[in-house]
Symmetry: C2
Subunit: 209 residues, 2 copies
DNA sequence: ACACACATGTAATTGGTTACATGATTTC
DNA sequence: GAAATCATGTAACCAATTACATGTGTGT
């Protein structure tokens, strides 16, 4: 079944090979991380398993930044000191497996959104609490929107002719659309929440910033 | 820390008491389930823990549908047969704890969206695959939109003067806004994906880098 | 007669995060 | 000289789903 993490790794290695667990983690953070996160605790075991199944293989070129010894010194861990970089690339079998997975219908796991949950129970909360949450929501989303726009700008400048580019842009645009819709919604929501707390008048001494 | 599940339960019991684990599960499915799911495996242990901490307590009225013996027969399990209904209500301490939690900033756990992930790697997929996924996405979202609209209609008719109503509607409207944005995005996405596969014409059954 | 809703709980398993161990090299 | 980055991996823990066990009452 391969635990999904495996497929993310296959996918990333299909775009660029010769990547280590560390690299993969970083690549994720700057790209798919916005809708799909992975941690070391998942990545390293997954790499091992993929290699054992012959879907990935150790890559040739070391490509250390500039260290003095690109030589593999021991086994997996140079006793003491920075461990050797262990990079991998996709095998043909790995690419085939990736394609198989891509062709299967995507599964949707139900989202868990604590913001909406708290808003849903907003009536129980002390006055001002829900307004505060919506403000927080706005702030996060505005920041995220700026980030996405920045990613788009850089991407268009650097990768515009990369063969994957249009797919990347599609996912980015999806994110942007979602955020914009959320922000538009939040305007109305804020107004409504404020109007719900005002008219009652005095009882709301805890409406802090 | 109370594991969040506990708070959902507190929240639901704050709206309506005298609910069993079974009831709570069903209530969730018709309401917060669209953005927050819980399974029996979480609910029953959580109920036990909440009761042990005095945040909820066994409710008085049995309210069995129409069974002949609303009497508690033994302990937790009537040896053989349908187990006794064990309903709970919120205690004042429970309500206080709920309010505390509501006032704290919501945490955002990163979403895991397999649809976007597959679209991101769409270049690697066989032709037609991504288009297919987007169509699937559209179908699901159209259905969901109808469901949400239905929920809104029923809600407005039945609960319009329920004190929690406006908060519920806010979360519902959020969902509707997200779905609409997704559907609008998908129109453009479909067109682009289709145009990507048409023009190249024949030679592209394995279009890899 | 059959299926489905009622009803509670536990156990097994998977999935995933966080913290730990370890220390050299690069950058400010 | 301090701080961040490079780099791999394991262990402990937490969260959550699924399957199992059990069988009656209700509606078609």
């Amino acid at each position: 079944m391969q635990s999904q993490t495996g497929y993310v790794i296959l996918g990333l290695l299909s775009i660029e090979g010769n990547q280590s667990g560390y690299d993969i983690r970083r690549t994720i953070q700057g790209s798919v991380g916005y809708f799909w996160g992975e941690s070391y605790g998942q990545i390293y075991p997954a790499l091992k398993k993929l290699a054992a199944e012959g879907l990935i293989e150790p890559a040739n070129s070391p490509q250390r930044t500039g260290a003095k010894s690109p030589v593999r010194r021991g086994g997996r861990k140079t006793a003491g000191g920075r461990p050797d970089r262990r990079a991998y690339s996709l095998t043909p079998a790995g690419r085939a497996r990736l394609q198989e997975w891509l062709a299967q219908p995507f599964r949707v796991d139900p989202p868990r959104d604590e913001f909406l949950l708290k808003l849903f129970f907003g009536r129980e909360a002390a006055p001002g609490v829900s307004v505060e949450h919506v403000r927080d929501f706005q702030q996060r989303n505005r920041r995220l929107l700026r980030t996405f726009e920045e990613i788009g700008r850089i991407g268009r400048a650097k990768n515009a002719n990369h063969p994957h580019f249009r797919f990347w842009i599609l996912t980015l645009e999806y994110g942007v659309a979602q955020i914009r819709a959320g922000l538009r919604w939040s305007e109305g929501a804020l107004k409504e929440l404020e109007s719900m707390e005002k008219p009652a008048g005095r009882g709301q001494r805890k409406a802090r910033q």
